[in-house]
Symmetry: C2
């Protein structure tokens, strides 16, 4: 049940119609690690931070069982910083500021103890760095999941397509699936990605409208939980991906049926993530709360129809 | 299993990014009757048409078992006409032309044979006319479903609220739920409608993103089927409502569990509706096709998680 995670560990400053955060800890790999650690101990983390990154945050992850040997701390440098402002629908946002800092020269080093890992989560990051991580693994992993975003489609499409060609499952949102394929229909976009681009599995995230899992002719849909308040959607997609791959890695089962369960656990974790700023809520979830949340998903979509044929 | 349907029977001219129709038969009550007649024979139809409305269309509905005694044919007058153009997302549209014609002075007459009806579907129509129909029923129906749209919120909110106060279940789309309540969160909007406005049940339609059914603290979500091509969304909401109430009326069961099944049948019928212009596809559906489509919904959302508690 070994899982390697690569991605940003960073600072965010977030504005929503309902509030504004200070500079808080974020980054794809932070959310992924918190989510996946509900299922997997000894996550093998790869990231780079500056000397400004709080030691207490690293200690909290270590206490959770996350291995940090692959997290480089750059003395005299600053961590990656992103600032954004969400629109009223909480599904769209404007980037206010991006400071690459340590990310500009990130050269990911895979500790020897990480080699032989079975599951790999390439969190949203420069495609060339995602590729370096894959290239530096001496044993081909059992299953690689990759997340990315529109930003890389605009500035590094060639690099991006190379990584996409190497992974088993790609996660993108609906507009990114359209941008990647020039197909408006998500079903057509999914077919194009799976038949022409490499991944045999695809997850299309639709934010408050749920997520679709595609594989060959199979489609599974999981709704997002209808919530009274969405406080901060930052990291919800990373949390979803972390929950998904964490569940797969823990169960060591990559059947379509088991992936459905992974999608539900990922969705349940994402529904917690949006309740507070940053990864705060993820740090507090109990096993009982998670099971209760999954039960809410069961109740939300379950129906019983007797079919004749 | 008696069902009364009121709404427009009309002409539409439709433009989508994929094609353009001539002036074709449409109207809420047309779609509702075609959908509901999969479950209920002897639907009691209330509408008004001009002398331009094709007799063949009325004959086709009659052959389907729809009672047309309550459909007034106005000699020398023209049927209601609507023309619209859909945007690329097929979820939003612009109205190009609306000609009320016979609808301007519609005075709905309930034939004596319709009295005592158990289920009523108030299709999208002038709220004052929806109210007249309810007022003219001599026996209180078992269950009344009402559909409406933003247009009436803008020009007849007071009338609209009076009707909403009289029905058991309201169907609106997501932006209409927000407009009606001034709440952005759909969960909050649903609570407000159910606690303050009258209906004990609410369906929020989200087009390609599915539909939510609310009652007290229960929520059920049904996705829309992910389709390769959506050809014409006109009437999909009416078809959904017709399938839903047709199923309820046929089973005479208004439990929440049975409403879930009604939502699934409504969604399945709506997924056929969008495959061709107008109500064409609805006229062709076989029982076997419908069952197969429902099976696709089961496969789309079904998952199996063993919960500890």
């Amino acid at each position: 049940m070994s899982l390697l995670v690569v991605g940003t560990m960073a600072f965010d400053a977030i504005e929503t119609p309902f509030g504004k955060s200070d500079k808080i800890v974020g980054g794809a790999a932070t959310y992924i690690a918190w989510a996946a650690s509900n299922f997997v101990k000894n996550i093998q983390q790869i990231a780079v931070v500056g000397e400004d990154f709080p030691k207490s945050e690293l200690d909290a992850l270590a206490a959770r069982g996350v291995q940090l040997e692959g997290v480089q701390i750059k003395e005299g440098e600053k961590s990656f910083f992103w600032s954004g402002k969400y629109h009223m629908d909480m599904n769209t946002r404007d980037t206010l500021d991006t400071q690459l800092n340590v990310l500009a020269n990130f050269d990911p080093v895979i500790p020897e103890s990480y080699q032989g890992v079975e599951f790999v989560m390439l969190g949203n990051l420069t495609p060339a760095i995602q590729m370096q991580v894959l290239d530096r693994l001496t044993v081909k992993p059992k299953f690689v999941v990759m997340d990315t975003m529109n930003f890389w489609m605009e500035i590094a499409m060639d690099d991006l397509k190379k990584v996409i060609g190497k992974v088993d499952l790609l996660t993108v949102n609906d507009s990114e699936a359209r941008q990647l394929t020039n197909e408006y229909s998500l079903v057509k976009a999914a077919k194009k990605i799976m038949s022409e681009m490499g991944p045999k599995y695809l997850v299309i995230k639709k934010g408050e409208h749920g997520a679709l899992l595609f594989h060959e002719d199979n489609v599974f849909f999981a709704p997002a939980l209808p919530l009274e308040d969405v406080f901060d959607p930052t990291g919800a997609g990373d949390t979803f991906a972390g929950g998904f791959i964490g569940y797969l890695a823990a169960t060591k089962d990559i059947s379509f049926e088991n992936m459905k369960r992974g999608i539900i656990y990922g969705s349940a974790l994402a529904s917690f993530c949006v309740e507070k700023f940053g990864a705060q809520r993820l740090r507090e979830i109990t096993h009982k709360e998670l099971e209760e949340r999954v039960k809410e998903f069961v109740d939300l979509v379950q129906f019983d129809i007797k079919l004749v044929n």
